[in-house]
């Protein structure tokens, strides 16, 4: 839903949209300055911008930012790799038979409707509090959208295309490479896009709940130590990173749609 609704319906005027977003962020920054200088908001709830800016610089200079980001990025990368590979495999295998699709697709989408967060304590029990539990949790969370999207994409390929290619003497490898993959690509890609967003959110969320390292953990520790300025500094970094990722994804999408 998020990816589908976010795309063509609202992104027709992309430059105008970015302008509104930047304007909104500027307004927010202005309100923040006013709130901390004019009104008496408690510093523990809302530190003033210079303080947070100072913390942001400190996180960069001391290398704390890079150390935590490295852990999170590695976990996300591995979890996403596992999710995409096994999701594609499951999707392809299930889509081979119409019977298997009808049998398994509701089971998988039913699973997707239950927040896997419920099972997070089990991941901690099985994989410990280190990065392994976040890896497994992120991978399982991201696996479902990839599998569901590829089941739909592979099962909906026009059988005429396959028959035509086979009639012209395409071998199984060529069939996979020339027919199955290109025909299923758009559907699979949109599933992969949703999965990436979900994977990042799951890993960050898991790190915030129970962990020993990573960005989510750093935010939680800052909150527990009442280092509010540092917590805001972390939040700003994550928000900036997610905007950058969002822009990259919509650019990639436009680029893949145009040719």
């Amino acid at each position: 839903m998020s990816a589908r609704d976010r795309t063509p319906m609202f992104e027709s005027k992309s430059a105008a949209m970015r302008a509104v977003q930047v304007g909104f962020l500027g307004l927010l920054l202005g309100l923040w300055f006013i709130a901390t200088s004019v009104t008496q908001v408690h510093r523990l709830l809302l530190p003033d911008p210079p303080q947070v800016w100072h913390e942001m610089q400190r996180l960069v200079v001391t290398g704390e930012l890079w150390r935590a980001a490295r852990v999170t990025l590695l976990t996300v990368g591995q979890a996403y790799g596992i999710a995409v590979a096994s999701g594609l495999l499951i999707g392809f295998c299930v889509s081979r038979s119409r019977h298997a699709v009808r049998l398994l697709e509701p089971v998988l989408s039913g699973f997707f409707a239950i927040p896997l967060t419920l099972f997070f304590p089990l991941f901690i029990l099985f994989f410990g509090i280190g990065t392994a539990s976040k890896l497994a949790y992120g991978a399982l969370y991201a696996l479902l959208p990839v599998a569901l999207a590829s089941i739909a994409a592979f099962a909906r390929i026009d059988p005429l295309l396959i028959r035509a290619a086979a009639a012209m003497g395409a071998r199984p490898a060529a069939l996979l490479h020339r027919v199955y993959l290109p025909a299923a690509l758009p559907g699979v890609l949109s599933g992969m896009r949703i999965a990436l967003v979900i994977c990042i959110a799951a890993v960050l969320g898991g790190e915030t709940l129970v962990s020993t390292a990573g960005v989510g953990y750093a935010i939680k520790v800052a909150e527990e130590l009442m280092e509010v300025a540092r917590m805001y500094a972390w939040l700003i970094f994550v928000v900036l990173a997610s905007f950058a990722l969002n822009m990259l994804l919509s650019m990639a999408e436009r680029w893949s749609v145009e040719p």
Binding site: R6, I114, P121, F126, L204, G205, E223
Partner: protein
């Protein structure tokens, strides 16, 4: 596989058999190879359900509190989401000006804001309701805006040419269309609200479900942990089905 077997009734039975086989596999694996401190067999989980979950008033009240928080958060998400969505989607100026802001906020991985919610709202139900609301409100806003937009222009001009008044168009065309789009958003909102409430519940490990799941996990007592999770999962499925049933009633015309 014969065609008769693959009939609508047959496929449900086959799915049940598949799930039962998986449970059986789990039972055998847990009994033969499982570490009793890590994994509980389904029969042991069922056994723990009575005395440890439903027999323990503290656990039961923790589950009840979660259900309450979820209900309030979902209702708030729907009410505020529809109101905000109507305000945004009513004109193309407000849509162009406000929609990018909604999408901007929706793109943030909200889990990282959880410590901020706890810091400002404390560890009580208010924090969990607010966090659930912050997850659930976005799909409602997006689907309300999409529902307002999506009515086919062909149907609109058709209705107008047949002399339908503004009120009639709203009643017979825009409203039914919006409801069907809205419900897709409501189902997602239910899942996401549950996600938000559960994240907050698990984050605050001094009370509620978070506390009990931590105690069970740390004392290597998997049977009640699995039973607690199974109860919550059953709750999630039941709520999803409720929204789906209401959806079917409202969109019977489809």
């Amino acid at each position: 596989m014969s065609a008769a077997l693959a009939s609508r009734f047959g496929i449900r039975v086959q799915r049940m058999v598949l799930l039962l086989a998986l449970f059986l596999l789990w039972e055998i694996t847990a009994r033969l190879f499982g570490d009793p401190g890590m994994i509980a067999a389904p029969s042991q989980v069922l056994g723990a359900l009575g005395p440890r979950i439903f027999g323990d008033p503290r656990v039961l009240s923790a589950i009840g509190l979660t259900l309450f928080e979820l209900t309030v958060a979902f209702i708030c998400s729907v009410v505020f989401g529809v109101v905000i969505g109507l305000a945004i989607g009513s004109s193309s100026i407000s849509r162009r000006g406000l929609m990018p802001i909604v999408l901007l906020l929706y793109a943030i991985p909200q889990a990282i804001l959880l410590p901020l919610f706890v810091l400002t709202l404390g560890i009580g139900p208010l924090c969990k309701i607010a966090f659930g609301f912050s997850h659930g409100v976005f799909p409602v806003i997006l689907s309300t805006v999409a529902g307002l937009r999506g009515a086919s222009p062909l149907l609109l001009s058709g209705a107008r040419s047949m002399g339908a008044g503004r009120l009639q168009i709203v009643r017979h065309l825009l409203f039914p269309h919006m409801v069907s789009v809205l419900f897709a958003g409501l189902r997602l909102a239910m899942t996401l609200t549950l996600l938000g409430v559960l994240l907050a519940e698990l984050f605050v490990s001094t009370t509620g479900i978070g506390y009990f799941s931590q105690v069970f996990a740390q004392t290597f007592d998997p049977a009640p942990l699995f039973a607690l999770i199974a109860t919550l999962a059953a709750m999630a499925v039941a709520l999803n089905e409720t929204v789906r049933t209401i959806e079917r009633r409202f969109t019977r015309w489809k």
